[in-house]
Amino acid sequence: MKTKLPEKITLAHGGGGRLTRELIELLFLKNFSNPALARLEDSAEVPLGRERAAFTTDSYVVSPLEFPGADIGRIAVCGTINDLAVKGAVPLAISAGFIIEEGFSTGRLAKIVRSMKSAAAEAGVPIVTGDTKVVEKGHADGLFINTSGIGRIPEGVNLTCEKIKPGDAVIVSGNLGDHGVAVMNARNALGLSDSVKSDGAPLNLMIAGILKAAPGSVKLMRDLTRGGLATALCEISQACGLSVELEETAIPVARATDNACRMLGLDPLYVANEGKVVIFAAAAGVAKILSNLKKSKYGRKAAVAGRVIKDAKPQVRLNTAIGGSRMILPLEGEQLPRIC
């Protein structure tokens, strides 16, 4: 099937699924074409003298701006730090650009900025540069934030999908789907109790811990944001030409999130996270990685969710709780709640 650019951009093009990918490939990749970008990883690798730097950027347009567990400021800081960390980089500094709608409350802005400060302090990464723009009322939804970050990739660290081999373990760092459900609940007043909180968290220290504890075992990591675990695994499977087999019963999902997803007709495998990472690792290092993840408060529920296998054609499969199996495809567009 031949795909071409759509006439107009739809919300689904920003959903983090297959359509987002198509837009990136057909427009951005085609025009900006260069080897660092072509890898389409969470952050790009750029040589800096004899060193290697990781560089990334991300914009945050979440609505509402505050939700249980985090706010736009916290996830803007954490998201960029995590994009650097999953590349194996030590984040050095980040920037913060604000687009503010005329009339926005200064008190609210101050609260969000303080939340950024505390997330950055927790991660030990300074916010070293920034930008402020104000647009006319109605031209932005309250507040948009862009953050960029730069990190140093230590010598010897080289995480690429080429390293993934059959038999490698697929580790998930904790309960999936909490962020997406918390935001949806806050946005639509679904009436769920606030027991589901966003997982927005900086993961750089936790990740540095596992890279140190099991050097060489970690093959590849991905920050699990929009599109969830399912979409990330599909992309990795395509990139490395190998299949991933997940065990439904091994995938960590909190009870409250699972219930909310069932009620809304969502699949937690596709729901967004802001503080979770998937780790592809050699079987030999799994025990060390797990015990290290569990030392961090952001990795307590870490678990091996599946493994890499060789198939005729790369795909992601899920062995279901009752002993069946099914395919996992990338997210198509937006996740929509069901009707009955």
């Binding site: 639509n188 062995n319 069901r338």
Partner: protein, 401 residues
């Protein structure tokens, strides 16, 4: 004869565990249920193959062919069957058909066009469940496209949200798209009652409701259909109870089991159907008794009766079926958006090549459609069975057969 195992799940009396027992996904129990299913299928095959046919089988013999065709009549079942991957574990000779259980899918093309016509009016804010956004009208436009072009279309999770929006935006005409079965109708009835009480005149509903029992009748009255048994929808039955299905067993001799939505519920429901068939019986049984009561939910039924009347409804690829839907009754007619905005109904053809109609009637499975997974995918769907997350085509596409 192999003694059948009793693996039906006993629900813990502690109420808080009623809806979340881990047993409902237990692999060991599932394996036993599947063993049972295998044994029952073989036994039934032997019984049906015998000549002369056992006397006790004669009542249901007309419905038993080479394959046992079990139809689920609920989109949530379709999704549960696909997402648990159970189809691959079923014995040969047992086939699951998806019936007209997805509300968006059964809505006729002409009615979809009416929804789009309402959305196009500048004074209207259309409030809808998310599933409707990507269903194309005969012009090729869907609500998503109309939203990009400036129509005011909002996704809501409950008709009460739409009502609240109407209350706080008195200058907008808020129209709620009432697509759904007996599960959705009571809540919409409640929102209409509240609109009347609160004198919210700028709220109205497009009544496109469908009823499950008439749909079953429609399926059964087609001589080309060979449905051996029905897995009946748990949610709908929680509202209407089990009595409205009695005619299926009595008049058409087809076994029925009201079934829940956990994978083990479905395995249990299928086995209950197979057991009825082996015994030559056709009854309406309730597997989902932890939720479904014989008389349904009287409060919900009262709400519906207060606001709605049975009415003719248009079904995709079938046309108008007598008393198969609901309309607002004389007291609440002023909340009918179709009347308020005088939107006329025009028959519209199905998208060319689309097999949705045949799939909804259990006459084909999605891969039989030549558009399936080729020109018709969830992100650019031709027919509604691929659009709706509960549609049979979407389930097959997403999870594999």
């Amino acid at each position: 004869m192999k003694k059948t195992l009793n693996y039906r799940i006993r629900v813990s009396p502690a109420k808080k565990n009623r809806f979340s027992s881990p047993l409902w996904r237990d692999k060991g129990l599932a394996a036993r249920a599947l063993e049972d299913m295998q044994a029952l299928t073989v036994q039934l095959g032997r019984l049906v193959g015998q000549r002369p046919l056992g006397r006790h089988l004669q009542r249901i013999a007309g419905r038993l062919g080479k394959t046992i065709n079990i139809m689920e009549v609920c989109g949530t079942h379709t999704m549960a069957i696909a997402s648990s991957g159970m189809r691959r574990l079923f014995p040969a000779g047992l086939k699951m058909l998806s019936g007209p259980g997805c509300p968006v899918c059964v809505t006729s093309q002409g009615d979809i066009d009416r929804v789009l016509a309402l959305a196009a009016r500048p004074e209207v804010t259309l409030a809808t469940f998310g599933d409707m956004l990507k269903v194309k009208g005969s012009s090729g436009f869907d609500l998503n496209r109309m939203r990009e072009n400036g129509s005011d279309i909002r996704v809501v999770y409950s008709p009460l949200d739409a009502l609240a929006y109407a209350r706080s935006n008195p200058l907008r005409q808020v129209v709620f798209v009432g697509v759904g079965f007996e599960t959705t109708a009571p809540l919409i009835a409640a929102s209409v009652l509240r609109a009347r009480e609160g004198k919210i005149a700028n709220f109205s509903v497009i009544p496109l409701f469908k009823l499950v029992p008439p749909a079953l009748k429609l399926l059964l009255s087609d001589p080309k259909n060979d449905i051996s048994g029905f897995l009946l929808p748990g949610h709908v039955s929680a509202i209407i109870g089990v009595r409205p299905y009695q005619f299926v067993a009595r008049e058409y001799n087809v076994p029925c089991v009201v079934t829940g939505f956990e994978p083990l519920d479905i395995l249990a429901g299928i086995n209950m159907l197979l057991r009825q068939m082996v015994r030559g019986r056709a009854e309406v049984e309730d597997e989902y008794s932890r939720v479904v009561k014989k008389n349904g939910n009287p409060t919900a039924l009262r709400l519906m009766a207060k606001v709605f009347n049975p009415a003719d409804a248009s079904w995709r690829a079938i046309g108008k079926v007598k008393k198969s839907g609901l309309c607002l009754n004389a007291d609440y007619l002023s909340f009918d958006a179709i009347r308020r905005f005088k939107i006329v109904y025009k028959e519209a053809p199905e998208p060319s090549g689309c097999l949705c109609g045949a799939i909804l009637m259990g006459k084909a499975q999605p891969p039989a459609c030549r558009l399936f997974a080729k020109s018709c995918t969830p992100s650019s769907a031709v027919g509604p069975c691929m659009v709706s997350s509960e549609g049979a085509c979407a389930a097959w596409y997403k999870y594999g057969g």
